[in-house]
């Protein structure tokens, strides 16, 4: 049996027993916070995925006769009431979930993939490359995330505003992931199993991808979940600041809050519903993220 074969047999053995992941899953299920979080997130995802089936109205449709006073509150026809031009708030909140989720996932994916790539290179190659990459990441980190995102949207890149948002929020996530992965890799690099693999002549990329990365993944997953929460807030914040989708009829939570601002003293409900939606979705991701952090923390292994 070659060394590689032994190795793969070992890997198969580990995955069949589940090991770390199975234990983590076990601990996660016992965490009430994580269960609540999972429930919120699941609701959010289902709503986002099936928005057209759930929403009673087209969120952009404006009735021919608009409300004469702002703004009719909740009724049986419009559960959350309507806004100043008669659009159904319930439908807009539901479609808003879809936009938040899509922008959130794509932007975190952008941040995660680019950040991982840079972090892996920096951590594994080290030396000069590491210094250059990490100093660049430090520069990005020095700028407050939202400000950086505003700056990127203000560049007015030649894409649709929605893609600009994804890129902007994604870029603000890059240094976070890059630093995190680099740190884990540095810690793993000197571990005995890496030294062992190196000493038996396993190729460097193989060591990185088959040994180091899988062991460095858990903090990335935790950070990814938490980043989703931040991304949803960032989308809403940018929308609130008028940097959301160009088309104002796009249902977007931050945009809805900005519109409600003028009527805050007379019609607080206009701000309450999108506000609650933001709180619930962000809280959900945060709870799950925290639960996973605890579940995946090796120091807590064996407890629970």
């Amino acid at each position: 049996m070659s060394i590689a074969e032994i190795e793969s047999a070992e890997l198969a053995l580990e995955s069949s027993t589940g090991g770390l992941w199975r234990e983590a899953w076990f601990r996660l299920r016992r965490n009430p916070g994580a269960i609540v979080g999972a429930f919120f997130v699941l609701t959010f995802v289902v709503i986002a995925a099936f928005a057209p089936l759930i929403a009673p109205y087209d969120p952009t449709i404006v009735p021919t006769v608009l409300p004469e006073t702002c703004c009719p509150g909740p009724s049986s026809a419009h559960w959350f009431g309507v806004n100043v031009i008669g659009q159904d708030t319930f439908s807009r909140v539901i479609y808003g979930a879809r936009l938040s989720l899509v922008v959130g996932i794509v932007s975190v994916a952008v941040g995660l993939s680019v950040g991982m790539f840079l972090g892996a290179i920096a951590g594994y190659i080290g030396g000069f490359v590491d210094s250059v990459i990490m100093r660049c990441m430090d520069v990005l980190l020095a700028i407050p995330g939202l400000l950086l995102a505003i700056g990127i949207v203000a560049l007015d890149l030649p894409f649709d505003r929605l893609y600009q948002l994804m890129i902007a929020i994604g870029v603000t996530n890059i240094p976070i992931f890059a630093r995190l992965l680099r740190g884990s890799i540095l810690a793993q690099r000197e571990n005995d199993f890496v030294l062992a693999a190196r000493s038996v002549g396993v190729k460097r990329p193989t060591i990185l991808f088959s040994h180091i990365l899988p062991n460095a993944m858990s903090p990335m997953i935790v950070q990814g979940t938490l980043a989703l929460a931040t991304a949803i807030i960032d989308v809403a914040a940018l929308g609130f600041l008028g940097l959301g989708p160009q088309d104002p009829s796009t249902p977007e939570w931050g945009n809805m809050l900005a519109d409600a601002q003028d009527y805050l003293s007379s019609q607080p409900l206009l701000a309450v519903f999108p506000g609650i939606a933001i709180v619930i979705s962000v809280l959900g991701f945060n709870l799950i993220g925290d639960g996973m952090r605890e579940a995946l923390d090796p120091k807590l292994r064996g407890r629970a």
Partner: protein
């Protein structure tokens, strides 16, 4: 209890010491500081509001209307087919610096403007001179047309004679503009009114005249101006007419709309302009406050930009847009303040030249719009680019985003496929609309400056403009004819006819005339809202306790 007594006693003493004067102070909240207090050099409302109290023009408007009345000129007559105008000037009028108002002073002012050089010829410096009189004695830029104004001569102490290059129908109403108010020649010379430079692309006067020594003949004289804090004007005791009832007016700049409302509620200010529609309720519901509305003198419209590649070249598409805009729905909703009306023509109804009948109307009708589109060059779904301005509120469109959303939804119901675009109002949006790069459709509007339809129709459609990008000689000719006609009855007919032709041709779709509102304390009396925002504070008094 003791405290109350003390307070009562001290305020009593305060009153007693002020009693002989009896002139009260009005504090008025403004959106910003004036730019400079020289009427010739400004075009913004905040500057004009203050200048209008300190200075007077040859022609005045009857308070609350756009009807002309004698100002510093008591009468006027024309000769030479409308090319020569002679003004008889008011006698016994003195400038605030004690110098005499006479024909020489009038001509000094007009010739000063006519002979502006260098930086003063930039359009952001002398916007209104260029809008009315087109050019200068020596035009330094090829963009300027030859001047309509040809000179002013003093014919004796109290008679001034103006010569124009060609007859100009709206000449008299145009002279009512605060921009053509007469200043003391002595003060203009002494304080360097003709010194200015272009600093970072912005016209900046460098003399002290417009900042520390504006000197006119009005019922108030300039007192002091601390930028960002307050601007004070005092009652001018030597005024020739009915003297001001107030002793002092303080203009306090508060840029935020909500902060201005709060300042009014707390009593920090006694009035402010341009109340936001959503704040109407807060003012009406307060027993100490009142809301005054200005007569509608503006128009909001959707530009239908024609030209290569634009579906708007086809009249049927333009008609479909007109039928596809839910104008009534928008104007009757709470997105528009009460008092707003759906515009059927490009000028406000109370202005002469408004065609009372025979104008084609376009009520919201999605089915008809679809039929029109399918028989046009742009079948359903007809793709159009639609621009709206962001982060701005104008009197004729309080929240452009709302207008856009309503119009987008109704156009899409009418067979259009609308793509949204936006830019900030200044400098991008206005510039794009004016040079014709703001899509096929865009939201824009206009507030009138003086009571003549030329200020509406003539400005929009008098000649070819990149904004609308059409050539229609029938429209151009009739508006040029109306502009140079001096017989009032004929002008009325011409404008009525022009309104009909325009609404058939549809270079744009008008949709709203609004009545902007001011908020005041109930104790403030005599403030008469004017359609063109020229409101004399001299008539205002503060009653009650």
């Amino acid at each position: 209890m003791i405290a109350l007594v003390v307070v009562g006693a001290s305020s009593g003493a305060h009153k007693a010491s002020k009693a002989p004067k009896a002139f009260k102070t009005l504090v008025f909240g403004t959106a910003s500081d004036p730019v400079v207090l020289d009427g010739a050099l400004v075009s913004d409302g905040e500057s004009l509001r203050v200048i209008d109290q300190i200075f007077e023009s040859l022609i005045k408007l009857k308070p609350g209307t756009t009807k002309v009345a004698p100002g510093l000129a008591t009468s006027w007559k024309t000769a030479g087919g409308g090319k020569v105008w002679t003004f008889a000037l008011r006698k016994g009028v003195k400038f605030h610096d004690g110098t005499k108002f006479n024909a020489a002073a009038v001509c000094y002012n007009f010739n000063r403007w006519y002979n502006f050089k260098g930086a003063f010829q930039s359009p952001d410096a002398t916007y209104y001179w260029q809008a009315i009189f087109l050019g200068f004695h020596n035009n330094e830029s090829s963009d300027l047309s030859p001047s309509l104004f040809k000179g002013c001569k003093a014919k004796g102490q109290y008679s001034a004679q103006f010569t124009l290059a060609k007859p100009f129908g709206p000449f008299i109403p145009a002279l009512s503009l605060t921009n053509f108010a007469i200043a003391s020649p002595t003060a203009l010379k002494k304080y360097g009114a003709d010194k200015a430079e272009i600093r970072n692309g912005i016209f900046t006067p460098t003399g002290t005249y417009g900042f520390k020594h504006p000197t006119g003949t009005g019922p108030f004289k300039f007192k002091s101006w601390t930028v960002g804090e307050k601007l004070e004007i005092d009652r001018f005791a030597g005024y020739w007419g009915t003297k001001a009832k107030l002793g002092k007016v303080i203009f306090r700049p508060i840029s935020n709309n909500t902060a201005r409302l709060q300042a009014l509620q707390t009593g920090e200010i006694m009035g402010y302009d341009l109340v936001a529609p959503q704040d109407y309720g807060a003012i009406k519901g307060n027993s100490k406050l009142k809301l005054l509305t200005r007569p509608a003198f503006n128009v909001a419209y959707v530009t239908l930009h024609q030209g290569t590649g634009s579906p708007m070249n086809d009249l049927k598409v333009r008609q479909a847009v007109a039928y596809g805009l839910n104008r009534t729905g928008l104007i009757n909703s709470s997105a528009y303040p009460p008092g707003a009306v759906v515009a059927k023509e490009f000028q406000p109804p109370q202005l002469f030249g408004y065609a009372k009948k025979g104008v084609k109307t376009y009520n919201f009708d999605p089915a008809k719009a679809r039929t029109l589109l399918n028989s046009s060059s742009c079948h359903v779904p007809c793709k159009v680019d639609f621009w709206y301005p962001s982060a701005v509120s104008r009197p004729y469109m309080p929240d452009p985003k709302r207008n856009f959303e309503v119009f987008k939804a109704s156009l899409e119901a009418s067979g259009f496929d609308v793509t949204a675009h936006t830019a900030n109002w200044r400098p991008d949006y206005v510039g794009k609309v004016t040079n014709g790069t703001a899509g096929d459709l865009n939201l824009i509007g206009w507030t009138g400056d003086y009571g003549d339809p030329d200020n509406f129709l003539g400005v929009f459609f008098g000649t070819f403009s990149e904004q609308f990008n059409f050539h229609n000689n029938q429209i151009f000719n009739i508006l040029q004819k109306a502009r140079t006609e001096t017989d009032q009855a004929k002008r009325v007919k011409l404008y009525e006819q022009a309104n009909k032709i325009i609404m058939n041709y549809l270079p744009a779709v008008p949709y709203a005339h609004t009545s902007p509102a001011l908020g005041f304390k109930k104790t403030v009396n005599g403030y008469k809202p004017s359609p063109v925002s020229l409101e004399p504070f001299a008539l205002v008094s503060i009653g009650g306790v």
